[in-house]
């Protein structure tokens, strides 16, 4: 059913349809509306879940780990400082192969304190073992929750997943969203069937310590599960498309790339701005296109190579920076395109919520044409 919903409320509604049995989360801007909405759903008996009012994000994810290990479908949401506080637990949840789903309302990390959007928070956890999916709009943010649960809980995968959507730009924006019915989601996403759980009738130990004789094999297996997630994501995305008519089967999604010789690469809501800019540039005769990365973990290297085979120049837009190096996405794209002869330039932009307009995207296209890149874009040099 089509509804006009705030992004956070659309996500909360999607989470409700997934029937989590335990929810544990701690408020932080711009994620707060999600947990508030879920709390009132529980209070109104619209969501039959245990809602644990934890005292911190550290406990939120720890409680999710315990609840998941005991056999329940669980949910959390956070951003920025909250995610940073969870760092240690994030590695633990992935290492213990618990399919926890967590929404990240992407926000900058302090200092300086800044509540606005960039993607430094989730990107900083790229090596933790969590699957990471990025939404362009609120419809996609909604749908990715159904898909994330199904992929994460698949017995070939058993990994936690972050569904990332841009703070304020999406969380606080009202957009029409086609919300599936409970019956349709129940048919798509069956109840969670764990492989092993903490159960007094079948004792087993979980989270033991492993010596050098065994540790590496755990990391290897987690890496293999990440890689398998590409195929499973495509499968689940295709099934979703067949049932709901919206296609998320691709880990990447191209826009006007067929005859393009220049391409932008980006994650999340900025893709909307880039699409508009591309339409304008196309009208001016520039052959540009967009490659949106939907899944940052697993990283779709082969898909990027295949999709960009006809392109000669690529501009990667990064809402994050690995300080002392470059944007994380640019580095990974360059790795994916290594040896292809395609010129990859990175641009750091929109950190801490700085606005990006169509004109900026066009300016970046000009820089790329001149071969100028690997730099901050939109720096206010007068305040430096």
């Amino acid at each position: 059913m089509m509804e006009i919903l705030e992004g956070s409320h659309a996500v909360a509604e999607a989470v409700r349809l997934c029937r989590p049995q335990v929810v544990a989360a701690y408020p932080i801007t711009p994620q707060t509306h999600i947990v508030e909405a879920l709390a009132s759903m529980v209070a109104d008996c619209k969501l039959d879940a245990e809602y644990i009012c934890v005292e911190s994000e550290f406990s939120a994810l720890s409680a999710c780990l315990g609840a998941s290990a005991a056999g329940s479908r669980v949910y959390s949401a956070t951003t920025s400082q909250g995610l940073a506080l969870m760092f240690e637990v994030c590695f633990n949840v992935a290492g213990m192969r618990q399919p926890v789903i967590m929404t990240i309302a992407n926000r900058a990390l302090g200092a300086p304190l800044n509540i606005w959007n960039d993607q430094q928070d989730s990107i900083s956890l790229r090596d933790s073992g969590w699957l990471q999916f990025y939404a362009e709009d609120n419809q996609e943010a909604t749908d990715l929750h159904f898909i994330a649960y199904k992929v994460a809980e698949d017995h070939r995968i058993l990994l936690p997943a972050m569904v990332c959507f841009d703070g304020f730009i999406l969380t606080h924006t009202y957009e029409p969203v086609d919300m599936p019915s409970q019956e349709a989601i129940d048919a798509f996403l069956p109840p969670y069937k764990p492989v092993t759980i903490l159960d007094a009738k079948k004792p087993m130990s979980l989270g033991m310590y492993a010596t050098p004789d065994y540790y590496m094999e755990f990391r290897y297996e987690t890496d293999q599960a990440q890689k398998r997630a590409k195929e499973v994501f495509a499968e689940v995305g295709a099934e979703f498309a067949a049932k709901f008519g919206r296609d998320y089967s691709g880990l990447v999604e191209g826009y006007r790339l067929e005859d393009a010789d220049m391409a932008f690469i980006a994650l999340g809501s900025i893709c909307g701005t880039v699409r508009e800019a591309i339409d304008e540039m196309r009208a001016e005769g520039k052959k540009v296109g967009l490659l949106k990365i939907r899944s940052f973990r697993p990283f779709p290297s082969e898909e990027i190579r295949a999709t960009l085979s006809g392109v000669s120049k690529v501009a990667v837009l990064d809402k994050n920076i690995s300080l002392g190096q470059k944007g994380a996405v640019a580095l990974e794209v360059r790795d994916a395109l290594y040896g292809s002869g395609i010129d990859v330039k990175g641009y750091i932009l929109a950190l801490g919520g700085r606005d990006v307009r169509q004109a900026d995207i066009k300016a970046i296209a000009d820089l790329l044409e001149k071969g100028e890149g690997d730099q901050f874009f939109g720096l206010r040099t007068e305040v430096l």
Partner: protein, 299 residues
């Protein structure tokens, strides 16, 4: 395998005479098999679960050093939702409990989860090599509170965690000692059958960290109680209910002089001033809890 070691199996890698290993065995007798154990990083986790072996005959989970209480909160909520009724029991060291885990414990107790949190108190971080914790007693020598020319060891008294958790609204709070096995088992039974957040602190001498012969664990544990440096008591809803009395309290020397961690109080000569301070701690304990038999508790 004897029946005693059914739930905490005979096979583990603790030092000979390890108080915490004994505590685990006794605790499991109290919880029974319908139990899920949540552990923190520390000696016990390491000596009982080197992958792919485990000493635990019940479901057991370790996550991190500091989040056992939060993991237990999640497990409890998950069981509740599924209509299951296993006991959820944390077994954690004093470092995990007094120091780094306080945030999670405070949260879990304030929320009133139906869990039993048991701290095996060996009075320092043993797993990382004997560093002080908030549970380390006054004047104990540890690697981060070393006795030296200008120091007599740890300069702070033990944090009163039972009182702190009672103030959180814990239903049942108790202290126990591995030297009084039946008392410990009974307290565990009482805790797991009492609804709400419950706390037991078990005095568990560590032969390696305290420096005594592994055959003396029980004797050292008993001396702590007999000197009044450790008091076994029970609290229900914040009120002290029962205290183990001592007929003829022994001088603290009897306890201190058998442990290397207090050796500096006796060498080169007897440090009268410091030993008097420790005796004063024991006397204050005795007064506060009415430990001495035939002596009326001061008003």
């Amino acid at each position: 395998m004897t029946e005693e070691c059914e739930l905490f199996e005979c096979g583990h890698r603790a030092c000979g005479g390890c108080g915490p290993a004994l505590a685990a065995r006794l605790i499991m007798k109290g919880t029974g098999e319908n139990t899920i154990i949540v552990a923190s990083t520390g000696c016990m986790e390491v000596f009982s679960t080197p992958y792919p072996e485990t000493a635990w005959g019940v479901p057991w989970i370790h996550s991190l050093f500091e989040n056992a209480a939060a993991v237990a909160s999640g497990i409890e909520a998950s069981l509740k939702k599924q209509g299951r009724d296993e006991h959820v029991v944390c077994i954690c060291g004093d470092g995990a409990t007094f120091d780094i885990g306080m945030l999670c414990i405070s949260g879990a107790f304030e929320r009133g989860h139906d869990i039993t949190y048991i701290c095996y108190d060996n009075e320092a971080y043993m797993n990382t090599g004997i560093q002080r914790s908030g549970a380390t007693p006054y004047d104990a020598d540890t690697t981060t509170s070393p006795a030296g020319k200008c120091s007599t060891g740890n300069q702070r008294p033990k944090k009163d965690l039972p009182a702190i958790l009672a103030a959180h609204g814990a239903t049942y709070v108790a202290t126990a000692s591995i030297a009084y096995p039946n008392d410990l088992i009974k307290k565990v039974q009482r805790a797991v059958s009492t609804h709400g957040p419950n706390y037991i602190q078990v005095h568990a001498p560590c032969a390696t960290g305290w420096g005594f012969d592994g055959s003396q664990t029980m004797a050292v544990g008993r001396l702590a109680v007999e000197t009044g440096l450790w008091v076994n008591y029970e609290m229900m809803n914040g009120e002290v209910e029962r205290v183990r009395k001592v007929a003829h309290r022994k001088p603290v020397d009897d306890y201190l002089s058998v442990q290397k961690r207090f050796r500096h109080l006796y060498r080169p000569g007897r440090n009268e001033e410091e030993i008097a301070k420790i005796q004063a701690i024991a006397d204050a304990n005795a007064r506060k809890f009415g430990v001495d038999l035939n002596v009326k508790k001061e008003e």
